[in-house]
């Protein structure tokens, strides 16, 4: 496989998987992933998660349960975190989609990626891309003043990001290896850093 500059050559590459051979309805669409536009022709049943992994080969986003129960598939749509397994690719034409590959690169890590490394916030690493995307989306929600189930009074603003708040806000991401204490520490590091941890 040719070495590719992230994004650039991938964009030139045609979608790998042929559309369904079954005669099931297909649709041509363009997805904007990590600031790169990809042309696809997919079986309309294709989840956003499968489109990312199987068609665009962006395998950083993981499939844990395929039922919205684990958070491994978390990506950012227009900066908001969602589960890519419970949505259809065809529903996201024109949306700005960000995956773990788009947050940072090995030579230029996103502060949240760097914090997860510094704090050793993982063991097997399977949940990690989802944790990181989720944490990035979470800090945007906090900056916008969104309350959570851990907020003592939903009427109060701004929110104070206690450890209890971080745990509750990250409860949509399970970690089978129970790296939770270090995940919490990594997020706390970023949140207390410049700009409340929001991406520049």
């Amino acid at each position: 496989m040719p070495k590719s500059t992230p994004g650039v050559e991938r964009a030139a590459r045609p979608a790998a998987k042929p559309a369904a051979p079954t005669g099931a309805p297909t649709q041509k669409l363009e997805l904007e992933v990590n600031r790169t536009s990809y042309a696809l022709d997919v079986d309309v049943r294709t989840s956003l998660l499968d489109a990312l992994r199987e068609h665009l080969h962006l395998t950083g986003t993981k499939k844990g349960c395929d039922h919205g129960q684990c958070g491994a598939c978390t990506v950012l749509i227009e900066g908001r975190r969602i589960n890519a397994c419970l949505t259809l690719a065809v529903m996201h034409e024109g949306d700005q989609i960000t995956t773990i590959e788009g947050l940072g690169a090995p030579e230029a890590l996103h502060p949240m990626q760097a914090a997860f490394l510094a704090r050793d916030a993982l063991q097997c690493g399977y949940c990690t891309p989802g944790q990181i995307c989720s944490a990035v989306g979470m800090l945007v929600e906090v900056a916008a003043g969104w309350p959570s189930h851990a907020t003592p009074d939903v009427g109060t603003r701004p929110v104070e990001l206690t450890d209890g708040e971080i745990r509750e806000r990250m409860s949509g991401n399970l970690c089978r290896c129970c790296a939770y204490p270090n995940i919490l520490a990594a997020i706390r590091d970023v949140a207390s850093g410049p700009n409340g941890g929001r991406s520049p």
Partner: protein
Amino acid sequence: MKAFTYERAADARAAVAAAAARANAKFIAGGTNLLDLMRLEIEQPAHLIDISRLPLQAIDDEPGGGLRLGAQARNSDTAADPRVRTRYPLLSQALLAGASAQLRNKASIGGNLLQRTRCAYFYDTTAPCNKRTPGGGCAAIGGLNRNHAILGASDACIATNPSDMAVALMALDAEVELLGATGASRRVALRDFYLLPETTPHIETVVHPGELITAVVLPRAPAGRQLYRKVRDRASYEFALVSVGVLLAVEKGTVEEVRVALGGVAHKPWRALEAEAVLRGRAPSVAAYQAAADAALARAVGRGHNDFKIELAKRTLVDALTKAGRP
């Protein structure tokens, strides 16, 4: 997942027209309940009408101090809206107690109302289930029924409605605005919106096939403290065993206004009017709250594993009322 055709509706009229034009069409909003069930082939629509981009996302003030929540308003945006947080904190709390942040970022008001009333056997396509296959029997009756209904159940189905949001809306006397295929709209009080299972548990609401929810309308909330309390097997990202939504106003030592709704106990979000009647006009006290809780659960029936829910619901209600009634 069964194959289906897909279209994106341009506006609400086009959505209902598209639904009327096709057999077995379904709307898809956030997709978090529908796709989950389609993947297991429990739902098998032949055609999906994507309503997620319809211009029904706004939350608008209503004359008289109410609030109109567009059907496409996200659960997360609704919970964070300053007007919801200050005027209807019960709704904000209930939304925030449901699902996860990721799911709330997708889930819509309309989709949340119409998520299926369900149980684990409903998901298990090898088990009999009257909801999936009418007349097929119910695996939960005589099976594992720890999470099942204690109020309003029937011999056909004992599943519970899982929505936290709907419990708050029930206590707040919300109305649902619907658009029919002919373009005519109607409003239904949420109290009349959901159906008990009786002999037709596969029919869960009064929504006609092809009808689109366009909004939920909240009347001005009466003065009083609002509180949502959810009890579950883990601290977050879990459905309720029992939940309670209350509004309590105490004036000069007597209960002026009270609203009580329960979740996780029945096929629909449960308004406990009997509990309200016990409290209205009475002096607030733990004994009064206990009497109200006894009234709310007077007709509760356990099925074995879920017997504990009767006492749990009472205690949760007494606790919520006690907190709401503090000076």
